[in-house]
Structure formats: structure tokens, C-alpha cells
């Protein structure tokens, strides 16, 4: 296929996904805004005012990057997982499978759809955060890199989940039992330097820790982990996840009998 035709295939998948996201905006954009507003209000203002500065910034400022990234990763994951699973469930995925759209465009389209939702949600949560803590952008390069890479990584994981899922329950198992615990233990609400050595060491096995801290460095200039290594690690696991999902879609796992 020519580059123009490939672009049209890609644009069609992304456009359809964006329309879907906005059609159900009360389910996609409103809940994360309400949830994080409550987090800022309760943990940031009410409880946070009683907590000492953390890594040299106020507690409410400290939790801003983590809460933004939590919304980004959750929404990126859910978006591509649900979109792909619904297409499988309705069998409308066959519309694409019978077409000449190559597997890498299918992957790129659904991941981009997830990234769009993750980014929009992240921006909305950032705007909400400004009401509670006027956080500036210390290192814009880190902000953009960690923001986008996290979104791409989780949109890809969501797509992998969508590929394997055989029912609606299997779409919610990963967010409930894997993503939520890892996010809460990934340094969103605390600095891992507060933990005993064993737990601090274990926390370093959690990939979300590197994303949250990289993004926190971009916004506040403070981090528990080295930034360069975190960015490289995130880049590598994202590339691996993309390669894996491309292989799955190309092979037709969960798609072709």
C-alpha cells in the first residue's frame, strides 16, 4: 500500500476511536476529573496541609505529578483495551481484518486512540491541579517524554489485554488487580526514601515508580530515581510491548481461528 493509503487506514481507525471517546465523554473524561479533584481536596488540602514538605516541595505539589500520571495510564489502558475488545465482541474487528490494513497500522491506530484519551485526561487533571497547587513545568522535555511514553506503554498493554480478553471480566482483571496496586505502590503519594530498605528495594521493581518519578522531575525538578535510566527503561519496555502486540495481531491471536 502507498504511504497515502496507509495514512488513510491509520486516520480512519484513530478518527473512529476519538469519536467513540467523545461520544461517551461522561464515562471517559468526567470520572477521572472528579476522582482526582477529590484526591487533591482530601489528600492534598485537608490531610496534606498536616504533612511536612516531601523532597523539598509541599505535599499537595508532590502528589500532582503522580495523580496526573495515574489518570493517564489508567485511561490509556482502558481506552485501547475496551475499544479492541468491543470490536472483537461485536465482530466489527472483521471489518479491518478482511481489509488490506496491515497489522502495524491496526496496532498504531488503536494505541494512538488510547494515547489521545490518556493525554486529554492528563491535561484535564493538570488543569484541575492548578486550582490546588500552581505547579510549573521545570523540565519540559521530561514532562513530554514521560507523559507520552507512559501513555503509549499503557495503551499498548491495554491492547494486549484486548487481544487476549474473551469476556468483559477479563478487561477489568488487569486494571483492578495489577494496575491499581502498582500505581498506589509506585510513589504517587509518597517518596520511597520514607520506606524501610527492603520495601524501598522492592519498590524499585515497580515500573510505575520510574514513570511517576520521571514525570515528577519534569514538573517539580525532584525524583527518587535517576531520570536518564528511567527514560531508557520506559522506552525499552514500551518498544517490547509494541513488538509483542504487533506479533499477536499479525499472527491473529484471539482474532483468527
Amino acid at each position: 500500500m502507498s504511504a497515502e493509503k496507509l495514512w488513510i487506514c491509520f486516520y480512519t481507525i484513530v478518527r473512529k476511536e476519538i469519536i467513540r471517546i467523545f461520544r461517551v465523554w461522561t464515562q471517559t473524561f468526567v470520572p477521572p476529573v472528579i476522582t482526582t479533584t477529590l484526591y487533591f481536596l482530601i489528600f492534598g488540602n485537608l490531610i496534606g496541609s498536616q504533612i511536612e514538605a516531601m523532597n523539598g516541595v509541599s505535599y499537595v505539589e508532590f502528589i500532582v505529578p503522580g495523580l496526573i500520571l495515574m489518570s493517564v495510564l489508567t485511561n490509556s489502558f482502558q481506552s485501547s483495551a475496551i475499544a479492541f475488545f468491543m470490536a472483537k465482541f461485536q465482530k466489527s474487528i472483521e471489518e479491518i481484518l478482511v481489509s488490506p490494513t496491515p497489522p502495524w497500522i491496526i496496532v498504531a491506530g488503536y494505541v494512538t486512540g488510547g494515547v489521545v484519551r490518556g493525554v486529554i485526561t492528563g491535561v484535564l487533571v493538570y488543569l484541575v491541579s492548578l486550582v490546588f497547587a500552581p505547579v510549573s513545568l521545570s523540565h519540559i522535555g521530561s514532562v513530554i517524554s514521560f507523559f507520552l511514553l507512559t501513555s503509549i506503554f499503557f495503551a499498548t498493554l491495554g491492547l494486549i489485554n484486548g487481544v487476549y480478553a474473551k469476556n468483559f471480566d477479563q478487561i477489568s482483571i488487569i486494571p483492578t488487580f495489577v494496575l491499581t496496586p502498582l500505581t498506589y505502590l509506585g510513589g504517587v503519594f509518597y517518596s520511597i526514601s520514607l520506606l524501610p530498605p527492603l520495601w524501598e528495594g522492592l519498590s524499585k521493581l515497580n515500573p510505575i515508580l520510574y514513570m511517576v518519578n520521571g514525570f515528577r522531575y519534569g514538573l517539580l525538578g525532584t525524583s527518587d530515581v535517576p531520570i536518564g535510566g528511567s527514560a531508557l527503561f520506559l522506552f525499552i519496555i514500551t518498544a517490547c510491548a509494541l513488538w509483542l502486540v504487533f506479533r499477536l495481531v499479525k499472527k491473529g491471536t484471539g482474532l483468527r481461528a
Binding site: 487506514c9 486516520y11 480512519t12 470490536a87 471489518e95 488490506p100
Partner: protein, 305 residues
């Protein structure tokens, strides 16, 4: 050139079911090809492999000259598929479904708008273009799937039981539409349970059973293979034992009080039956073939296999 060329195609599902056991088939470009077979014969699997929805176990398939292993995308570009089951995004609008499908083939949106209008009008769905697919009737959904399959102007249209569950009027409308499409040069491959449909539409036929092609050829050639053809005669008077005895050589039986069925062997003529009626001074009001000829052949063949 062949639109479809299949050599020794085999498919074994993970469950161990051998759906196809070495199918070989050639479908010339421009043909109207009927694929007949009972439930579970392998029709949908065969179509699934051709269209890219099912992975084959072994064998070769070429679509419009493109090997589906080496050039899957080029092959798919030439095909439009209308599946047996509804596979629409039910919350999407009719117009969007068709235009988006064009997008998956790399058709620019402006061009797709024009084609969408053309096919939605041709299939009587233009007035429904802003409705969501979920709100359409079964017949409309089926027509929508045909419009969607044609949006990129394919050379080959594959329809898997397109008239299943469609009322008679709509079915005839679809037949006319498909015949016109075929006359414009589109190769049509149709699977169907309705043998009347196959006999009326198809130029070439293949009968598949238990994953194997058990007969193929033109409709005329296949019908010629019938050993016996049944005819029904409406008689002026009630049928008696004597009436039946006059027609014993034709294996006659009463269908009701004044309708008699005879089974005419291949080597005998209808005139022989009329001679028998004359000998018994039996008056005939009307006559007709009492069963679809293809149906008779189909049942004979699938029973044997």
C-alpha cells in the same frame, strides 16, 4: 485469469475438527459461483480463509493472482466480504460504517462519500443513513453489509448466505442486484442453503460436504447428472389403485387425492408418461417438476458422501 485459485487446502481447528480436507477449486474471473453444502460442511471456513478471517493449516490460495501468504494485502484489496453473521459496529451510523470501511482500504473520505451514497441508494438504505446500525431491521443490516463490502469497488464479492432470514420480496431484490453486479464484471461467490437461489443465480457450482468438494461444474452439467427427475401431475379425477397401476413403471405415488407424482428415469422421456396416461384414459389438468432439480442432486450427493 482465475479470481480464486485454491490448491489442496486443509484446515484443522484447535478442537481437532478437520473442517477442510484438501479442497482444490478454481473460480474464473467474472463467474457467479455457488458454493453449496449442508451445515458444518466447511463453506464458512473456506470463505474465512479466502477473506483473511481464518488461518489455514496447509495448502495454497490465490486471490486475483495474489498468493494470500506472500501478498495478503494485495489479495484483500480485491475482495469484498459479506459474512453470514452480523458484524457491524451497532452504535455507529449507517453512513459512517460504510465510509469507515472505505478508509480501511485507503479510499479517501471524499471519494468514499460519493461511493457510500451510490451503494446506500442502490440498496435502499439512503434514507436510513443517519440511523445507528442497532436500529435497523435484519434485512436492512444485511443490505448494509453488502453496501459496506462494495464500498471499495472490489473485483470479487463473497457472500456467505446473504439471504438467510430475508423475506421473499427482499431476497428477489437482492438477486436482481447481484445479477446486475455480476453483469458489470464483478466475480460473485455465494454460499447458500437455498438451492433455488443457487440454480437461479450461479453459473458454476461446487457442492462441499465434510470438508471436501464432492461435485463441481456448471448448473446444467450438474443437473444432467440426476438419474431420476420427479414430476407432479394434477388429474381431472380422483386417483385410484387402477390409476397407480397404469403408472407403476414410473414408481408413481399419490401426493393428494388428485395429484400424482412419477419419477422419470434419465433414459425415459415425459412422452412415455403421457402415453401411459393415454393408455389408462387418464386426463391431466396440469404438470410441474415436483422438486427442485438441484435439491434432488444435492440430497443424492450429500447422502452418498
Amino acid at each position: 485469469m482465475n479470481a480464486i485459485s485454491i490448491k489442496n487446502l486443509k484446515k484443522t481447528y484447535a478442537t481437532g475438527v478437520h473442517a477442510l480436507k484438501g479442497v482444490s477449486l478454481e473460480i474464473p474471473s467474472g463467474d457467479f459461483f455457488g458454493l453449496l453444502g449442508p451445515n458444518g460442511a466447511g463453506k464458512t471456513t473456506l470463505i474465512g480463509i479466502i477473506s483473511g478471517l481464518v488461518n489455514k493449516t496447509s495448502g495454497n490460495v490465490s486471490v486475483a493472482g495474489f498468493d494470500i501468504d506472500k501478498n495478503p494485502e494485495n489479495g484483500r484489496m480485491t475482495i469484498g466480504v459479506v459474512p453470514q453473521e452480523f458484524n457491524l459496529s451497532i452504535f455507529e451510523k449507517v453512513f459512517d460504517i460504510v465510509v469507515d470501511q472505505a478508509g480501511y482500504y485507503g479510499v479517501p473520505r471524499k471519494k468514499a462519500f460519493v461511493s457510500a451514497e451510490k451503494y446506500l441508494r442502490a440498496l435502499g438504505l439512503w434514507e436510513k443513513r443517519d440511523q445507528k446500525a442497532i436500529a435497523l431491521s435484519g434485512g436492512m443490516k444485511r443490505r448494509l453489509m453488502i453496501a459496506r463490502a462494495l464500498i471499495h469497488e472490489p473485483q470479487i464479492l463473497i457472500l456467505d448466505e446473504p439471504t438467510a432470514g430475508v423475506d421473499v420480496e427482499l431476497r428477489r431484490g437482492m438477486w436482481d442486484f447481484l445479477t446486475k453486479l455480476n453483469s458489470e464484471g464483478v466475480t460473485i461467490i455465494l454460499t447458500t442453503h437455498y438451492l433455488e437461489e443457487a440454480e437461479r443465480l450461479a453459473k458454476q457450482l461446487a457442492i462441499i460436504d465434510h470438508g471436501e468438494i464432492i461435485e463441481k461444474g456448471s448448473v446444467k452439467e450438474l443437473v444432467k447428472k440426476l438419474d431420476i427427475q420427479p414430476f407432479a401431475f394434477d388429474l381431472e379425477k380422483r386417483i385410484t389403485a387402477e390409476t397407480l397401476s397404469h403408472l407403476r413403471e414410473f414408481d408413481a405415488r399419490a401426493l393428494d387425492e388428485d395429484t400424482i407424482e412419477v419419477r422419470l428415469p434419465k433414459n425415459r422421456s415425459v412422452n412415455d408418461v403421457f402415453h401411459a396416461f393415454d393408455r389408462g384414459e387418464i386426463r391431466v389438468k396440469n404438470m410441474r417438476t415436483s422438486a427442485n432439480r438441484l435439491e434432488e442432486l444435492f440430497l443424492n450427493l450429500t447422502k452418498k458422501s
